[in-house]
């Protein structure tokens, strides 16, 4: 075996030079001869009947080519698909353009196609839609009430689905417990806000009957399959390309109305078409994340042992399902054991239709909600019992020797050492020192808070049996006649850096220079098959497929080398990128030479196929379960409600690390997004279903100056689930950080009697709580 050189090394991202020099090609950079531009008219009403649409005036606008409404398209384009299964699922039909009624602000009702974007946008103002407003319900709890308007008249109420899971003797556990702590928790709606909004270019060649669609997507192969069904085209006449994609965070793990609409328009008009989403459209009509309101109860013994947890949650679905909408809240349910041994767990999910955009997967997708529930409650219970939050966590961790650890929710945690990560974080932050400091400052009327989160998450999605549309991944490695190596992967990186990390894996395996390797992804005509990038799966699942393909290439190369040397296979050694016969290291043959022989195919072993390439499909046997400990120290100004993060320490364990720079980057960006949820972000609709946070002037993202320096460290517990030992890290930062920050603020305000604050922790909320309670009881009590 060659000495591992690149795996584990801080290799700089090979993607960055083109990105930072503006040389990357995003959807909007694609220009085709004769291309037309599409603008979409969206509903200003949250719920209204469409009585008529007049498009004549729009057609009069110079350079406008066509205007389409829902009735023009009819059933020629199928409904927006839902992949997640559930026996109670109600699926209202979501047409690509609404024709009878609209159910949320931003729902598409017409499309203008013009020679340029300006003309298309001007024409939108000329379309007259006659709406008859209908009663609106935007609050998911109210949507379940008897008096609520029913959004989809096919069903008697607004229930979208139910999902339950129950394990253990809950009634006994809760009856016998020393302590039962209840809490209502809100996980507010968030907008994913990828830096690049969505965008689609479609081109149809009528002669060949071939549709090519460029889309800013995380799942080109799944999109190809779904598009062929929606557009009623044979799948082998559809090609999807994900060019450079400027972030997704789950928002592009979907099949959108606009993608099928553009495909249809290209076919109908026989001209290429382009649609680029604006930021306001992006906040209105790209999926939102989170959106849960739950009641949690935890039963505990006096010594801090957690006995049981019950969670009843209302999931705010929005007006329709998108691809994975009903699959997100069950992920919350499955992860409710957190990093702890909890023998009895129940969850009841009620998905509820509201007159809003759909919720779906956003970085973490169900796990941040679970982690927030569990980690918030560990602090709540500790407080009730007068215990240190560190102690109660230690008390309930499974020990390293208890892995693989089976949770009451039916998952098997692959490997872990939760205590080790926590100890490392405590040491790094200086926990005892901060506690002394907290006590000292409180006597001066200053309020420090220390918040912990010891999370575990579910990654590397996943075994196909547990996934709605396959959990395997495809990889191929091809050695070109000149010895250059091409990797083809079914994952679709959009910021994660697999053009670097996959090249590291293959460089080590084949003993070639990383500069001689290229990684191709995101084109269904080039990469034979694939699932995509989401659920922190790309390296653990896709990287393993690539590794296995490289191993197969190496085996074939070994056979060719043995044949050329007229030696036995067992007598060959591979070192420094060369095969040689044992004991004759000077007379070696390089992969480059073997590749040429493989392609010339004149001296190959009998029956061997020419060429030097291999494919592999990796099907994981389980998910992986990364974990870690985040500790946040804040100071809160009770007079202004301002929160200042004074220190942030994160110790994350994502298994074997392929590239520490990529891992650190994922953790940092993840924490920034988790901090956004904790402190600033919230998609707000009013009772009329109007979106009040429709631009970045009102939707508060964390800016660079709001993000403190993070101190990052790692423990490394490999997973046995894949040969790389890698677990996944794309979502860990977001999952771990949110409760750490909220716990810190609640801790800071404990002298005011505060036990919980719902996110985002806006200054006004903090100010109100502090106004309400005098700080008289400040001091001694933690």
């Amino acid at each position: 075996m060659p000495v591992s050189k690149l795996v584990g090394a801080k290799v700089r991202r090979r993607e960055d030079p083109r990105l930072i020099r503006g040389l990357a090609h995003y959807v909007d950079d694609i220009s085709l001869p004769g291309i037309l531009h599409v603008a979409i008219l969206r509903s200003p009403y949250a719920h209204a009947r469409i009585k008529g649409i007049q498009t004549e005036a729009a057609l009069q606008v110079p350079r406008v080519v066509a205007v389409f409404t829902g009735s023009d398209i009819g059933d020629r384009v199928g409904a927006v698909p839902v992949a997640s299964q559930n026996p109670t699922l109600r699926v209202p039909k979501r047409a690509v353009l609404a024709s009878d009624k609209v159910c949320f602000v931003g729902e598409a009702v017409a499309a203008v196609v013009a020679e340029d974007r300006y003309a298309a946008t001007d024409a939108l103002d000329r379309i007259r839609v006659d709406y008859e407003p209908l009663p609106v319900v935007s609050d998911p709890e109210k949507a379940l009430g008897r008096e609520s308007p029913v959004i989809h008249s096919e069903w008697p109420d607004n229930v979208a689905f139910r999902w339950t899971l129950k394990q253990g003797n809950l009634s006994k556990v809760f009856k016998d417990a020393d302590k039962v702590v209840k809490q209502r928790l809100v996980h507010q709606r968030l907008a994913p806000i990828a830096l690049e909004p969505r965008g689609v270019v479609a081109r149809y060649f009528p002669g060949e009957g071939e549709l090519t669609l460029w889309s800013s997507t995380q799942i080109p192969h799944l999109l190809k399959t779904q598009l062929s069904l929606m557009l009623k085209l044979p799948e082998n006449y559809v090609r999807v390309i994900a060019p450079e994609v400027g972030g997704g965070f789950g928002s592009k793990l979907n099949v959108y109305a606009e993608e099928a609409l553009l495909g249809y328009l290209a076919m109908k008009l026989n001209r290429p078409v382009k649609w680029i989403e604006g930021r306001r459209e992006n906040i209105q009509a790209t999926i939102h994340g989170r959106g849960q309101v739950g009641e949690v109860e935890v039963a505990a013994e006096r010594d801090g042992t957690i006995l049981g947890l019950q969670y009843r949650v209302i999931a705010d679905i929005g007006a329709y399902h998108q691809l994975l909408t009903p699959g997100i809240p069950p992920l919350t349910g499955l992860m409710l054991s957190g990093a702890y041994k909890i023998p009895a767990i129940s969850i009841e999910v009620t998905g509820v239709f509201t007159n809003k955009m759909s919720t779906d997967a956003y970085r973490g997708a169900g796990r941040p909600e679970a982690t927030y529930v569990v980690e918030r409650m560990m602090d709540r219970v500790a407080r009730e019992l007068g215990m240190d939050p560190v102690k109660i966590r230690r008390k309930n961790f499974p020990k390293p020797k208890e892995f693989p650890f089976k949770t009451a929710t039916g998952l098997v945690y692959d490997s872990g050492n939760y205590q080790l990560a926590l100890d490392k974080a405590l040491k790094l932050v200086g926990y005892e020192k901060w506690k002394r400091q907290q006590k000292r400052l409180r006597s001066q009327g200053r309020y420090l808070g220390i918040g912990l989160s010891t999370y575990v998450e579910i990654c590397a999605m996943g075994p196909s049996a547990a996934m709605p549309a396959g959990g395997w991944e495809y990889g191929a490695v091809r050695v070109e006649p000149t010895g250059k190596v091409t990797i083809l992967t079914g994952v679709s990186p959009h910021g994660q850096g697999q053009e670097t990390s996959f090249a590291q894996i293959v460089a080590d395996e084949l003993g070639v220079e990383i500069d001689d390797i290229t990684v191709i992804h995101g084109d269904t005509a080039v990469v034979a098959s694939g699932i995509g990038t989401f659920g922190s799966r790309a390296t653990a699942v896709g990287g393993t497929a690539v590794l296995q393909a490289a191993q197969r290439v190496k085996e074939k190369a070994r056979e060719i080398a043995a044949h050329l040397f007229e030696a036995d296979l067992e007598d060959l050694v591979f070192a420094d990128g060369k095969f040689s016969v044992k004991g004759v290291p000077k007379k070696g043959i390089t992969l480059e030479q073997i590749a040429l022989e493989a392609h010339m195919a004149r001296k190959l072993p009998k029956k061997m196929e020419p060429g030097l390439s291999a494919t592999a499909v990796f099907e994981p046997s389980n998910f992986t379960f990364p974990f870690g400990a985040h500790i946040c120290v804040v100071e809160v100004d009770p007079k202004s409600g301002a929160v200042e993060i004074k220190k942030y320490v994160a110790v994350d364990d994502c298994g074997k690390v392929i590239n520490p720079l990529l891992v650190d980057g994922q953790i940092q960006g993840g924490i920034a997004q988790g901090l956004g949820q904790a402190l600033y972000e919230e998609v707000i609709y009013d009772e009329n279903g109007q979106l009040l946070t429709g631009s970045l002037m009102d939707y508060a993202l964390p800016r660079a100056k709001d993000v403190p320096r993070f101190e990052l460290a790692r423990t490394e517990t490999p997973t046995p689930v894949n040969p790389l030992g890698a677990k996944g890290v794309g979502e860990a930062g977001t999952i771990g950080s949110t409760p750490a920050i909220v716990n810190a603020v609640v801790d800071a305000l404990s002298p005011f009697g505060v036990t919980h604050i719902d996110m985002p922790l806006r200054p006004e909320k903090i100010w109100r709580l502090c106004q309400a309670k005098e700080a008289a009881s400040a001091g001694g009590r933690r």
Binding site: A39, R117, Y118, T121, D122, D125, G278, R279, R280, K639, S640, G641, A642, Y680, I684, L692, T693, S695, L696, M697, D698, Y699, A700, L701, R703, D706, R762, P763, E764, W767, R768
Partner: protein, 289 residues
């Protein structure tokens, strides 16, 4: 995010610009830094048929001293103000305010004249101009007019400028003696505009008495205002924390605070009291109390 079609004019003289205003009426808008106007146009909340770009008119972007005044051309960018040596030495309240406006990109393009004439109630710049009792000069078809800062702001995005006038210059006093200034703001997290911003200028006598004080408040009400009740309570007094706090508690008196999803009126009013107290305290400290 695509604006409607418009014509564009870049006159070389002020007279030409004023003429353009006169002939195109309501449909014309002046373009300075464009950081408020262009977003409105992209959202189609404003669709002017003509933009008159003031950027080619010489001398509108200069900062200079004349006697005991500092003259600031209306086209001076926030960055120019933030980094002006003259202002930093002689009237630091303006650089202190400019440096917390928006972000670097906004400060590089946005102008003081544009900000004042747009009169967004949450904009920062009106607060220090009010605190300093600045003078604004505007030129129209009838020639130049001088306006006191206090008379300039009329209400929500409304000023005393007539439709054919152009704000050309802002004059602020040269601060001398034992002066202290401060601008503190609680930002709206998404936009960076002020939920509440308080600008304070004060002058102490040799014996430490507060000889004069000016306080401008942005963000709280539909128009920025001078907190005269607070000033009155401090003028002629020896400043100490409890007096400052008591005086600042009158900051929102008689004011109808704005309310939106970012802050209730009640919270804004309390922030105004808190930030006024802290800004006065800070200014006093800088003056050597």
């Amino acid at each position: 995010m695509i604006p409607a079609a418009f014509d564009y004019l870049a006159p070389a003289t002020l007279e030409e610009a004023i003429r353009a205003l006169g002939t195109h009426g309501e449909e014309v808008k002046l373009l300075a830094g464009g950081h408020s106007l262009l977003p409105l146009m992209k959202l189609r909340l404003a669709s002017p048929t003509l933009l008159v770009d003031l950027g080619r008119i010489p001398s509108l972007g200069l900062i200079s001293q004349e006697g005991d005044k500092i003259l600031i051309g209306a086209l001076s960018t926030h960055y120019q103000i933030e980094s002006s040596k003259l202002l930093k030495e002689k009237c630091p309240l303006l650089p202190q305010t400019a440096r917390v406006i928006g972000d670097v990109q906004v400060r590089n393009r946005g102008t003081i004249g544009g900000s004042l004439a747009h009169a967004d109630p949450a904009a920062d710049m009106p607060a220090p101009i009010l605190a300093l009792a600045g003078e604004l000069r505007a030129t129209g078809p009838q020639g130049e007019r001088r306006l006191k800062a206090e008379d300039f702001f009329l209400g929500l995005m409304a000023t005393a400028l007539s439709p054919t006038e152009i704000l050309t210059e802002i004059r602020v006093p040269l601060l001398s003696g034992r002066c202290g200034t401060a601008y503190l703001k609680a930002p709206q997290k998404a936009s960076g505009f002020a939920l509440v911003g308080v600008a304070v200028w004060l002058k102490l006598s040799a014996s430490g008495i507060c000889e004069d004080i000016g306080i401008g408040v942005a963000g709280l009400a539909a128009k920025p205002f001078r907190a005269k009740g607070v000033e009155r309570r401090l003028r002629g007094k020896n400043l100490n924390p409890s007096l400052i706090e008591e005086a600042a508690s009158h900051t929102a008196q008689g004011v109808d605070p704005m309310e939106d999803i970012h802050a209730s009126g009640e919270f804004r009013a309390d922030l105004a009291r808190l930030y006024a107290a802290r800004a006065i305290q800070e200014a006093a400290k800088r003056a050597g109390v």
